[in-house]
Symmetry: C2
Subunit: 253 residues, 2 copies
DNA sequence: TTAATATTGTTGTATATACAAATAGGGTAA
DNA sequence: TTACCCTATTTGTATATACAACAATATTAA
């Protein structure tokens, strides 16, 4: 009886056992991409459980990206997605701390400005609209690591808090000072050579390659509410991405 | 009636409306990290819906990382998660094609070699183990975009197929020629200046900043089975990442 | 033949119910 | 006071049911 796929007397939930069953089938290639799973009713009948429990298991498989469902058609094994890479980029502070260093962010400039033509275009606003302007340098043990420039519309006229100067999150800024709620963001990562000014702030020689990230924050109506530019020192920073089933094992490789 | 938070006559599912309601509350800081949501029964009574529907909404919030639940205690607003960024890096071919250009990969070198000390260390194998060695340049409309160097252990001694030279996927190579199955991968993205040789292959002047990606493929036992280095031209390539709920709207921004 | 219609099968949404399992608080006995 | 137990609260699991929405096929009508 204990060899059964679904054991109703197990400590483990039925939906979890069923999830594991299909996970094994898919990973072991008994079920291949494009193959249809049995219908929910069939699975329920096959294992003597209710359809809702089957749905719970399938919902977990969907979350894991292993299958997809089509209303009126069925449930199918998904193709493995090897094309997207997950990099951790933010939480600079935690990341620096994790390496045993002391993070610090220094405010170079913080002003309320009126948007010129260029900024107006970037933020999608009228020229002369009041905006917040920040320039921040983030250091680890005193050594500059990142240089950030941020703009957001200044609608609420709430004071700028000390804590905001510590938190380098652009979406936090937008939430606090624009009159809209951040909903989505777009980030573009490029490589660049440092200019004279950037090199001086980062403490490197001009022309040193750096990561350049442009970030745009949108509200519910897909209107731009904040814009930011971040430079990360290429000689001190790298992005790591892990993918697969035994990620914990390979992190120290 | 249409101002109500949950509209039973709406086309949108109730659980989705409820999900959106709490999402707004959390993003708008009316509900802050650590705050408890009303109990499932309270929410159900408040909106005149069933507890299972409330649970569906909460389950979506959990998936989105916005709340967490504790059995016997309640549901609480989560701290904003580390902002991980999803970049598309592979599927070079499709990406180039999408831009209306014609991709092509040219094989510069393909040899079976014996691992020297350095490669042995990289692949975690004995010196003199037989390995496959590839050098490929990927072009779009004839212009070089990426330069890749790949190594994998050559255990199966199966012939190298023409199709493999077209497919730049390191894990495909590893699957075909090593005697293990690729299970996980690690990718590290850095910036670099091109050397003389790299600059020549990529058709840029030496010192041009480029993306440098080191990729390692592991098998089930977390043993390294392939290693690759890719250079992407920084002046022609950038990584874009979208996050949020109205991603489709902002892609063209 | 072709187009419209009906039927059947499948997943999606929503409800009602029952009990299990973890948590927190209060009361009781030593 | 301290330890223990009991109870109420809250989320977790599982079932049964009903109908909606979509897809594909079969049937019918022109």
């Amino acid at each position: 009886m204990q060899g059964e796929i679904v054991d109703k007397n197990s400590i483990l939930p039925i939906y979890y056992q069923l999830f594991k069953h299909f996970e094994k089938q898919i990973r072991g290639k008994q079920l291949q991409p494009g193959d249809a799973l049995p219908t929910e009713m069939e699975i329920a009948a096959r294992f003597g459980i209710s359809r809702m429990t089957v749905r719970r298991a399938i919902s977990e498989l969907v979350s894991a990206g292993m299958v997809y469902t089509q209303k009126g058609k069925g449930t199918f094994v998904a193709s493995p997605r090897l094309d997207s890479v997950v990099f951790n980029l933010n939480n600079f502070y935690d990341e620096i701390r994790q390496k045993g260093m002391k993070p610090h962010s220094e405010l170079l400039e913080a002003r309320i400005i009126k948007a010129d033509e260029k900024l107006g275009r970037r933020l999608g606003i009228e020229v002369n609209t009041r905006c917040l302007y920040f320039r921040i340098v983030i250091t680890a043990d005193g050594e500059p690591l990142a240089y950030e420039t941020k703009y957001t519309v200044y609608a609420k006229r709430t004071p700028i808090l000390e804590s905001e100067l510590k938190d380098p999150s652009l979406s936090t800024l937008a939430a606090a000072h624009s009159d809209a709620t951040p909903s989505s963001s777009k980030k573009v990562l490029m490589v660049s050579k440092t200019t004279e000014e950037e090199a001086q702030v980062l403490g490197v020689s001009p022309g040193t390659p750096v990561f350049l990230m442009i970030q745009t924050i949108f509200d519910d109506d897909s209107k731009i509410i904040a814009w930011g530019k971040s430079l990360y020192r290429g000689d001190r920073y790298k992005l790591t991405s892990y993918e697969g089933w035994n990620v914990e094992d390979i992190k120290n490789s």
